[in-house]
Amino acid sequence: MARITAGVGVSHVPAIGVAMDTGHTEDDYYKPVFAGFEKSREWIKQNNPDVVFLVYNDHCTAFSAEMIPTFALGCAAEFQPADEGWGPRPVPVVKGHQKLASHIAQSVILDEFDLTIMNAMEVDHGLTVPLSVMFGQPDEWPCLVVPLCVNVVQYPPPTGNRCYQLGKAIRRAIDSFEEDLNVVIFGTGGMSHQLQYKRAGLINADWDIDFLDRLTSDPVGLSQKPHVDYLREAGSEGIELVMWHVMRGALDDEVVEVHRHYHVPASNTAVGHIILENKT
């Protein structure tokens, strides 16, 4: 049977992808950003997932203002890296696990989460940067990916509670898939940052650290945090962090934190990263 063994929380700052694509990871500015992922790359090599279930958001790339699905599940055979306005990232095509994705759609929708099904979708830095920081620069990604795209661009995004409960439904779906698969779930985005208007550049390290702590100590309480707290305390774009609750909801109630990395800044953003393992 398929099983979720671990969860990864990770920022998806576009500048991190640019630094990797243009060979600037050893610069003084980026060195501390990437140093914190060295252990993560070792860890994921050991864990060796068959599938990454990757929760991310599109940044007005695949979805224009015409269509804004709250939860969109990637069911295609493959997902091309998108041109976001400066050419597509030079990274491998992302290959899906279509049978697993279809199974999750069937299970989760009957579990009363009304997903949008995507049979064709380009993916932007929100999805490819987490793969890059975790897997480096291989010729092909070493595992299949099932993308879940969450609207966090137009307010309101789904509530933290809704995301957490969806994570639980995804867990039930994966647990009931008959193929023997090791699945790792990624929640991406954040941490505190504001990209717009006069308050741009806001960072709240204390708030971020508390968020990281409570993923282990108080995940249910954390999922109840109201949206206005994210906006006010972690910046207007910090609300991306609701996506981490999907990841957390899909794990056991009790988890072990095996790695953490926090660094300010990468471009406009606080970089946060955590690896949580199920005890079972």
């Binding site: 007005c60 976001e84 661009v153």
Partner: protein
């Protein structure tokens, strides 16, 4: 909280008193629709080329307001946001101009790129004094 109380609470925009911030909600999305659709068109290289060749002519395809159109031609980034633009859309226009996200952020805050970058390296803009519009009174 009753269902009715919850609905009433959801309808209030509790985030309107955050200073220096436009929360891109459904009202702003409606207001900025054509502006944002113009911006996202610049995602594709052929559209970027057409826009560069004739900015006013290219903008004619998008029925935005005169104010929105002028803010694009002026590259008035904050005005675009005020008129319903969203940063992920306006950043496509910035990318077309060769302005990266950090430079764009600096422009919106009125800082030089060097000062903004230095602020970020020093830990970013503190949340202290920046939570409520009342804290900014007399400072702007």
């Amino acid at each position: 909280m009753s269902t009715e109380e919850k609905s009433a609470k959801n309808a209030t925009k509790e985030y309107e008193d955050i200073p220096g911030t436009y929360v891109f909600d459904a009202d702003r999305s409606r207001q900025g629709y054509h502006l944002n659709m113009f911006c996202i068109s610049l995602r594709l290289a052929e559209n970027r080329a057409a826009f560069r060749a004739d900015e006013p002519g290219y903008l004619d395809q998008y029925p935005m307001t005169a104010e929105q159109r002028q803010s694009v031609l002026d590259r008035d980034w904050n005005e675009m946001l005020r008129l319903g633009g969203n940063i992920y859309y306006t950043s496509k226009l910035a990318a077309n101009d060769g302005v990266n996200f950090q430079e764009l952020a600096a422009k919106m805050t009125g800082m030089t790129s060097e000062d903004y970058r230095a602020m970020m390296v020093a830990g970013g803009r503190s949340v202290e004094g920046n939570r409520y519009a009342s804290e900014w009174e007399g400072k702007e």
